[in-house]
Symmetry: C2
Subunit: 124 residues, 2 copies
Amino acid sequence: MQAKIQDVQPICAVDYAFRRIGGKYKGRLLWYLHNHQVLRYGELRRSIVDITPKMLTQTLRELEEDGLIHREVYHEVPPKVEYRLTTVGQELVPFIEHLRDWGMQQMRKENIPMIGDTNCITND
Amino acid sequence: MQAKIQDVQPICAVDYAFRRIGGKYKGRLLWYLHNHQVLRYGELRRSIVDITPKMLTQTLRELEEDGLIHREVYHEVPPKVEYRLTTVGQELVPFIEHLRDWGMQQMRKENIPMIGDTNCITND
DNA sequence: CTGAATCCCCCAAGATACTG
DNA sequence: CAGTATCTTGGGGGATTCAG
């Protein structure tokens, strides 16, 4: 488990913000949730191609505890759980969007190959 | 040493961009360099209060190799080395700025204490 | 003053198997 | 379907010492 954001006193706001969206998968997770509005656990698992169930759950829990995403459980058989961005989470979208644009530009300029889609959009 | 950005094929642009500015100190380093235009090694060491010489050098080298900062060596006694953002590095400033604003707002709302300055500005 | 060189540790992340 | 439970590991990062 990553150290909770509340448990470590940040040096400054930049430090705080970077720690809050840091980690290997948080950026993509937020981005995919933004693109699809709402995604189920299995859909996220297929979107983040290189993630294991453990890391997916762990990252989702951290983002939830952190107030960036909302988790909705439907008590059905079979189970169904939906994830979506909270209002606070949505405030981060412009940032991720611009960062993605910058990343795309850099990759084009440097001719860097990638595994997935150019726009970071999944198909399902 | 962190795996070089060129050596790991990114999943998508978001993945790429996050990996390129990831790490514990890169964000603050870029931010401080933006605020002061140019900083010497020792000034950076005092700005990033929680960094060790090893991590400072390592992070600076990664950012340099990555084309985000420029390193200028003055062959004097005593030695003098200056760091500044490159053009590509400067393109990242708006995002860091936006992220910092978001972080400040969150910290104010949640009443989170911090160690350094609210604006992430150092004094020297 | 600006680093380099070691040694070491912790924990984020991976692999695998299992469950309500 | 949506997760847990263990075990393992790689390397990011820390502490300390030395150097030009």
